[in-house]
Symmetry: D2
Subunit: 164 residues, 4 copies
């Protein structure tokens, strides 16, 4: 079976606390640590595309992500992404790519902070990627959503289906 | 969609350190904490069947587990279980039940200790349970295995396929 | 022996990650958790005076802290405080109170984040408070400093003596 | 000011979980990690003398510890030690050495497990060592005890004074 590609783009998932200025910032992705923690035996390749807050992600950034997904040789891709504009990026990918299984996931609490959901979400995304049909999905809160049937409930901090 | 049932049976997953006598022991399952940590929005019901080291699990314990799986109204069941005899229990369940999706999972390091794989494995099991066909499976190391195509490599501490 | 009073004023020590807006904020002090974690058997009373970033602390806030220290019946007081203006507050206290042992401490990384120095610093402050003579001190990095012989090296994120 | 020596001897403090056989064991001391976590700026030298459960410590082990304390050039020594026989070792040291400040400390929960008191106790021991007069002490639960005025309450898992 071919490899699984993970593209890191930043988001809360990879935020850290800068002890010199007391602000949140990005250093490098925590994905390697998480795969080790999960004792993953999957054939996974990680590549950091950018380390940005998804609220600051621009059209050119999304185009870059889409292009990287298109060029990647495997047909199973996970993207770690800030939750605020995750749906927007998923939409752009879906409009351009249809022959791969692509899952976007992230975290509500940074990996480095004690109570993060990141390890859970990564376990979830890595599992769904092995079994879902080609398409673009979001996996959060233990669930998977079709890219066009999901929105982030910003009040509750959870992802929900749009259609009932 | 119907609920997902999780039966806790103990194993490394739920072991804790007893600070009075310095030994490992069981108190109560950490599953509730993990679901909260993962911000799970799934309809999950948890029930503790026993809290035992799977090396000490006897025939009567396994029969009890099989019976509980049979009686449970949902057709999607996860069992947290010690890794040492996980395959043995999976076999007994498979010989008795064929119309439900049943996944056994566990952990190599207790949930309560810093570097546990438990949250990752739970995220994985909860994802696979939503998409796999009826059958009995083990999910560990980010992978899922058919009950009759897996063994624990005790030297490496990982699960592997038997058939090549 | 009389009790030890701890006044919480906020600072990095008590910052948390708000998963709804992705910003750092204050909820409530983590001091109770830390004392439990340290299995402290000391007679300690905790009181939250404010929950602020010490860069935003104003004259009126410091006057309030000084007054609370003066009124407190015990002669052993610890203040958890943001590190950026810790020395400034120490100075004001020293100019007003001389008959009590008062120690300011804090953290470079919030308690709630995995790699915090908060528990170490609290263990340190609670120990020094039991043995140091009346005066105003800062304890950070395992050391104690007289209030007029310390500054924060903002480049390195550590406290150092001024006099050589 | 001269350096502080820390002798590691094992105990709960440095116990780890062996994921291959599911038992507790010793690998190497966590003291370096803890000093880094605490952002310690103290001049500390660490040396591992043994890695044993203090219930299995024999006369020859204690003689070795006493001898190492005697030979060490500094007069400020901390010993990390299992809590069960900490008092016994302290007694032997006190009967042989009187011109140094020697503190024994440990942990009720291993450093590597989420809820350890080890970092708190280390912060405490490193603080007391800087200010206490020559003598042999135990620091646990935020307190310091003279070696001949302390016992471990095994029911409660805390250290208490003997004399009232």
């Amino acid at each position: 079976m071919s490899y699984i590609k993970i593209f890191a783009t930043g988001g809360t998932f990879d935020k850290e606390f800068n002890e010199i200025d007391g602000k949140l910032y990005f250093k490098e992705t925590k994905l390697y640590e998480l795969l080790k923690l999960g004792r993953s035996q999957l054939n996974v390749k990680i590549e950091t595309l950018m380390m940005v807050d998804s609220l600051k992600m621009e059209k050119v950034d999304r185009d870059y992500i889409v292009n990287k997904c298109r060029q990647e040789k495997t047909n199973r891709i996970i993207i770690t992404h800030g939750t605020d504009t995750m749906v927007e990026t998923a939409k752009l990918i879906a409009e351009n790519i249809s022959d791969k299984t692509i899952i976007l996931t992230g975290a509500m609490i940074p990996i480095n902070f004690g109570s993060s959901d990141g390890l859970f979400n990564l376990g979830s995304a890595l599992s769904f990627i092995q079994v879902l049909q080609p398409g673009v999905y979001i996996t959060m809160n233990g669930r998977y959503f079709q890219w066009d049937d999901v929105h982030k409930n910003k009040k509750l901090g959870i992802f929900e289906k749009i259609k009932k």
